[in-house]
Symmetry: D2
Subunit: 234 residues, 4 copies
C-alpha cells in the first residue's frame, strides 16, 4: 500500500521536502473558502509558515470561496501550473456536498472522482508532488446527526480512494477532526470548537490542520509519482 | 425515565394489551409506503398477525406512499380517529428526510417536531395508546457513508425525544436495524439485506421489524398516558 | 364569478369596511418576512396606515420571516384568532417555493392547497373576512428567466384558485408587480426596482402593494362568506 | 450579428453541407437521453436520416441519458473528436436544470457557460462546424407555470448567448417548441403533445425537431469558424 496518511499538513510537507530539489520548495494550497481563509492571521497556512523555515518553503494560498472540484479543474492552468509549484495540496469537497442542499448544484459522486482524477493527472505529468486532504467538517456534532455527515463521509472516502489510486500522500483531516471532536465536543455542540460556523476553521481548527505530524511519514511513501521526472523548475 | 424502548413491534403491542380493555385490541399502523407494504404477503404487519392471537388483536394498516409527518396530521381524523383504535403505531420520517433531496419538499426539523407533537396530543386526548417507531434506513452501508445517514440519525433522534416528551413507547427501528446490519452487512452493501431498494423492507427487514421482543418491557413503562381515561371504545 | 381581484390592499380593505361592523375595523396582515417588514418605516402596512383613517381601521402586522403556509396554519390560533380580527389578509407563498431550492423544505403544491384551504375554513367559520394576496416576486427580470418564475407562477395560480373556491377577495400582487415591471424594468434587472434583493419590497414595491385601487371593487364581490354571521366581535 | 437561427435541425445541416467537403458529411448529435432516443424508430435523428440523402450525410447519435454539459466535456475526445466529424450538433441543458431539483447536482449557470465555451473551443480548433440547440421543454404547460420554466428559459438564453459568442448556428428548439405549443396545447396540458413525459419527445416532438427549415439560412451565416481550416478529415 503506497498511500500515506499523515496527521496534518506540516508533517507531509516537511517530509516531502526531503526528497526534492533544493529550497525553497514552492507549495500551493489549492482549495475553497477554508483555504482562502488559510492565509488570514490565524489561518492554517499562516501557521504553517511560522512552523516551517522560510528559506526552505514558499507557501502560497490559492483558495477561492465556493469552489468545487471542477472549479479547481477549470482554473488549474491559471492558478497552479503557471506558477510551477513543486507541491500542490488539494483540499476540496465541502462545497461539492453542501451545494447539493443549499443551491442544487453539488457534484455527483462519480463526477467528483472523474474531475479529481483528471486534476491529479495533469499535475503529476508535470512532475508536481500532489497531496490530498479530505473535507473536514460540515457541523461538529459527534453523534453522527449533522445533516450532511453521511454524504461528507462518502466524499471523504472518495478522496482516500483517489489518493490511493494516484499514490498521493493523504492528509485525512476528516478523520483527524472527528477524533479531536470526540474528545473535545462532549456536549455535542454544532459549532464553535474546531469551526466558527460549522464549516470554516476556528483558530483551534486551523491549529489542528496545520500542526506537525507526531509520527513522521516514511520517506518511501513519498517517492516520486510514477513516471514523473524531477521537480519541474530546473 | 418513562420512555420505553423495545426491540420491535410485537413486544410493545403485546405488552400494551396487558393493560388495556378486553380483546380484541384494535391497533392501527400509521405511516408511509413501508407501512403500506406492511400488509403485503411478507409485510411486517402480516407477520405480526401471524404472531399475535387473532382473537386478541386486530391489526390495521394505514400507510400511504410518500407520506410525511404532516400528511399523517392532515388525515388523522379520517384514517385513524374515525376508527376508534386502542393503539396507534406511528412509523414515519423517511420521506421527511428523503424528499429534501429528491423533491425539495422535505420537512424542516423543527416543524417535524411541531407536527409530531400535535399528532400525538390529538390521539392521547382520546385515550389512544401511542407507540412511535424511528425511521429505519435510507441505504444499508455500515460505514456511515449513506448520503442521508446524518440527517436520518438526526430525525431518528427527534423521534426518540418526542417519544420521551409524550411518554410514548418507542420501537427504535433505526437502532435495531443498524445493529443488525453491523453483523450482516460486512460487505458494506448499499441494499439487499434488510431492504429491497435502500428503503423498503425485504422479507428479512420485515421479520426484524415484526419480531417479538426478547426482553419483555416492564409494565410500568406502559402506564396510561397522562390524563387519559380508559380505552376510547366503551 | 365571485372572486374579486383588486389592484392593491388599500382598495380591498376600504371596500370591505363598507359592509362590516362599526369602526375601527381590525385587520391582521398574516404572512412572512415581507409582511414582517411591512410595519417598518416604508413598509406597505405603514403606508396603508397613512392612507386609511385611523379611527376606522386598526392595521396589525403578523408577519414572521421564513414562514410558509403551514407555519401560518400552526400559529393561526395564537397570532390571529385570539385577536378577533374582522379581516385577515393572507400573503404567503414565496418561501413555499424558495425553500425548495435553498433548503429542500419547500411545500408540495397539493399540500400548499390543503393547508391553505384549512386555514381559510378556520377563519371563515368565525365570520372573519379573508383576503388573499398572491406571492409577488422572486427576481425582477422581465423575460421570464428568473429561476423560480415557473414555480412562482404556479403557486400564484394556486392562490387565485383557492381564493375563487372560498369566495375570498384577491389582491393579485404577482400580476400587478409583473405589469409594473414590464414598464419600469426595461433593462431586465434582477433586483432594485420593486425589491431590494429580488424578494423583499423596496419603498417603491411597498407603495405598489399598498396603493389605493383605481377602480373600487363592487360591493357585491365582498358579500359575507357563505354561512358566516356578522363580525365576530360583538 | 453573425449568429444564425433556424427552425430545426434539417435546414441547418443541409445548409452547412453546401459549404463543406464532398459527401458524405459526418454529423454527430451530442447530447443527453433525448438524443439517445433520437436514433429510435421515431427519433429525430432517424427522421432526419429519412429526409437527407444518405450518400451525402452520415448522421451519428451520441446521446447518453442523464448527461449535463460537463459530461459532454469529459467524453468529447472519446465520443466525438476521435470520430473526426465535420459537424457536431450539441443539444444539452435539460439535466443541467432538472438535476438541481431532482438530485441536487444541476449545473451553476456560470459554470454551464464556462464548460460550454471550452467544449466549443476544442471542436472549433479542429475545424469542426458546431451547431447548438436550446433545451426544449420540461413540462408543456403554456401559461408559464411549469415549475422549471424560469430556469429553463434562463439556460436557453445562455445557449443563445454562447452560440452568438462563438458564431455557431443555433437551432432554437425552446423557442420553436413554445410557439408550437401555444397553438396546439390550448388545454394547458402538462405533457402528451410534444413530449411523452414532459421531457422526452413524442413522435410529434421528434418531427418538430427534425423538420426542414421553411426559410433556408443564408450561406454567409455558415461561413467557417474563425481561424478554422478546412474539414478535419482530409
Amino acid at each position: 500500500m503506497r498511500t500515506f496518511t499523515c496527521l496534518a499538513f506540516a508533517g507531509v510537507i516537511a517530509a516531502t521536502s526531503l526528497m526534492m530539489a533544493p529550497p525553497p520548495l514552492r507549495v500551493i494550497f489549492f482549495g475553497d473558502s477554508i483555504t482562502e481563509a488559510g492565509v488570514g492571521p490565524t489561518g492554517y497556512i499562516t501557521q504553517l509558515r511560522g512552523m516551517l523555515p522560510r528559506e526552505n518553503f514558499e507557501l502560497i494560498g490559492a483558495g477561492i470561496g465556493g469552489n468545487k472540484i471542477y472549479d479547481l479543474y477549470l482554473r488549474l492552468e491559471r492558478d497552479v501550473l503557471s506558477k510551477s509549484p513543486d507541491v500542490v495540496v488539494v483540499f476540496i469537497g465541502v462545497n461539492d456536498v453542501w451545494h447539493k442542499r443549499s443551491m442544487g448544484t453539488g457534484t455527483d459522486a462519480d463526477k467528483f472522482v472523474v474531475f479529481y482524477d483528471a486534476l491529479i493527472a495533469k499535475m503529476q505529468e508535470k512532475g508536481i508532488r500532489v497531496i490530498l486532504a479530505t473535507p473536514a467538517l460540515i457541523g461538529e456534532k459527534t453523534d453522527c446527526t449533522n445533516d450532511l455527515d453521511g454524504e461528507l463521509n462518502h466524499y471523504a472516502q472518495l478522496v482516500r480512494d483517489v489518493a490511493a489510486a494516484h499514490h498521493c500522500a493523504l492528509v485525512d483531516l476528516r478523520s483527524e477532526f472527528l477524533k479531536s471532536l470526540a474528545a473535545k465536543n462532549t456536549a455535542n455542540a454544532e459549532k464553535g470548537i474546531l469551526t466558527e460556523d460549522r464549516v470554516h476553521f476556528s483558530p483551534e481548527g486551523n491549529r489542528l490542520a496545520g500542526r506537525p505530524a507526531r509520527r513522521p511519514p516514511s520517506l518511501n511513501a513519498l517517492r516520486p509519482a510514477p513516471g514523473a521526472g524531477p521537480g519541474n523548475r530546473s
